[in-house]
Amino acid sequence: MNKQGNTYTILYSAVMVVVVAAILAIASVSLRPLQQENIRVDKMMQILSSVHIASTAHDAVSLYDKYITDSYVVDAAGNTTKADAFGIDVAAEVKRDAAERRLPVFVCTLDNGDVKYILPLYGAGLWGPIWGYISVDADGRTLYGSYFAHQGETPGLGAEIGSAAFQEQFAGKQLFVDGEFKPVAVMKKGQKPLDGADYVDAISGGTITSKGVQSMISDCLLPYESFLKSLDK
């Protein structure tokens, strides 16, 4: 058969496409359960990381069961409902109006009996989505820890939001200023927010990602205002 002819070329590309599609489909379908499980374990590790509990893929499930003692869903008015908080897709929730969102809360009880509330975050960085978890003390005012991750921010610049140095800044920051709810701001070094909110230093060279973190925090935490206020009795 003439290898440079049209018939051969068309047949060749048709067979190639079918073979490649079959291989990719088989790989995708057969590996999906394992991948889903990895994603689930990874989510547990992220949640634990926001309360300063380091875990590995091996012990994440048992540590999660041990420390995360409760989880429920609240709405913007502060009403609590029992539901599968872990299964809620935060990425889909943030697209809805603040009043309609289902807001997951994970309750963590530490070894010394302290209770922390973990709230998920989701937003946009420079190149793609960024997300994280932020933990709040039992009084609903003081941040205890944070965890941020990203899909594809620039290594060394925006990707530094995933570093411990950036995340540790959040511990101890206040969410309420004079009784008013003002989520923590992310400011360029040396600057302060005009409204008096508590703030952390941005990443130099990662301006857009830092701004993304800032808007993610305010956008995702504002609907929790009633819930956080109800904690402080």
Binding site: Q4, T9, Y12, S13, A27, L31, Q35, D42, G205
Partner: protein, 206 residues
Amino acid sequence: MIWKNKEVLLGPLSKNNPVIVQILGICSALAVTSKLEPACVMAVSVIAVVALSNVIISLLRNTIPNSIRIIVQLVVVASLVIIVDQLLKAFAYEVSKQLSVFVGLIITNCIVMGRLEAYALSHNPWDSFLDGIGNGIGYGIILVIVAFFRELLGSGTLFGYHVIPQVFYQWGYENNGLMILPPMALITVACIIWVHRSRNKELQEK
């Protein structure tokens, strides 16, 4: 025969280096070299992808119709990268999280297509495999050298560990933030090319 193979494998490390002599793959050298760790991950991935796709194309080389050979190469490279990514997601999730940003960069890396077109289409699988390994390493070396200087001078760290003593900072030493920004990757590559050409006179243009 042995000498010929050696040249195939070792040539791309210096005299025929894909980055500093052929000036290929510059875009990813810019993107992933602000830290050593991603640079190493990227280097290993590119070595694996160039070697494997070279072998596959070399095995198919007598069947590929000339008019669609670029498309066939692209399909092979893209599916290979996606399958590797899927496998990593299932069996080495941590590595795949690190790779996320590079998957697209590997597919579009000009070195991969360049080697398929220039070498694998006309050589046997074993030679092509060595050629892929050699070019991958040649690319990786440059990446690691650039990342070493950028991370050391830009952040004062290597692999995330602080190596510049704290006293230096007390004496007034400052990390050079410019090193982390993309332009310094190109300037560092240019410096490597400068040093390399001054040591290899035959590479200098008249």
